[in-house]
Amino acid sequence: MFAQLLSDISSLWARYGSVYLQGIANTLILAVTATLIGCIIGFFCGILQTIPYGLNDNIFKKILLKLIRIIIRVYVEVFRGTPMILQAVFIYYGMPYFFGIAFRDIWTVSIVVVSVNTGAYMAESVRGGIMSIDVGQFEGAKAIGMNHWQTMLHIILPQTLRNIMPQIGNNYIINVKDTSVMFIIGFSDFFAVHKMVSGAVFKYFPSAFMEMGGYLILTLVASFLLRKMEKKLAGKSNYELVNTDQLVMTAGTYNYPKEAGSPFEEVNKDYKGEKK
């Protein structure tokens, strides 16, 4: 009954509370770090993939850019198209075969695997985000002499970031939950604690109940914070006038009274006005 469940949970909490909390902390650290690194990978791939090349560029530049696009394509397809749990096994146990070194640090492997996985998804999100920006923004930046990196860094990516914020939120929430597959290489996240505790005391359901609640709280808090961030990125909804605009009447029409003078009187001396 319900009372039984509550007492089981409280006894579990009393004995293993700190272990559960440690699990939550590990999960959060891994999810946050990997999402951030994944975003950086994604944005980097996004910039590299969109470097334009024209007819006049030399052949080496064209080949290099083509090659970069192919490499990113392969990276995205491989890491998006295989299960993360296998990627973890693959990298953790595969390293000694290829490089003769074993990653003994489970943290490093976990962060690498989840970051690289997130990066593959983010690369596509960022590409979509960049494609959704009006071509006029690129042209406006080019027209004042910005190069590709400057255009991307100062104009396009800030707008892309705002547009793909929901995607980043998605990825983060997926990471909070899916880092649980890292138990396969022995990472002690929130879910690993469940396996450990329930195996020791045979209280599967009460522990699972706590896990469910815990994950839900983690993701709800994340959703809330992401919404706040989106709002902040959207900027202020109003602005303050420094003083009044002399060229526009408050009604929004143009015909200001001639005797009031225009701000261009000084420079307008030579110009005699439109002939009718």
Partner: protein
Amino acid sequence: MSERILEIRHLSKAFGSHAVLKDIDFTVDRGDVTSIIGASGSGKSTLLRCINLLETPTTGEIFFHGKDVTKEKASAYRAKVGMVFQNFNLFSNLSVLDNCMIGQQKVSRIPKEEAKKRALYYLNKVGMAPYINARPNQISGGQKQRVAIARALAMEPEVLLFDEPTSALDPEMVGEVLDVMKSLAADRMTMLVVTHEMAFARDVSTHVVYMADGIIEEQGKPEKIFTDPESPSTRSFLKRILNE
């Protein structure tokens, strides 16, 4: 004779098999206000975009102070040639003030304080100084275009290209933008304006270029073109557009 800024020689542009510009030749001297007129699809905008290298010319050369820019790095050249677009193309993530500062800071490497001073000077010139804190989506079309002009001016370009600057505006906002352009013309700013505003072409510009089907059909002083055009094509175009 005044200093030659731009010289376009044998410029052609084709999109696939469709030739938009055919062997264009013309020059821009310092202080010229050149209006490019012509029917839609005659290649006016493409010509302007080729001059700013937003489109790569298929053949031909563009000399800027005697140097062929089609062979050089486009970004350095573009910083000296301002462009005002039909759709404003203000950076929507930046405030009005930042729109006018970012190019100076990142491209010309001007320190922040100096860049701000310059941006405010030009924003004041176009009457947009009160709106420095606004974002582009919070101001009207005419105001956006005035900010776009200030953004281009803040780079202190040698030539300013206008690609149909009033075509996307509500009729009531055309005046405020044209006024700014007139004041620039009075300041002897070198301008190249693709426009459908015949009054501007006739009264403000020093040269008029009439384009039809990808070639320059006729060019000359506005008085000559508007009162006594040589080509029958020019005559019928002007008749059509002025009698509307």
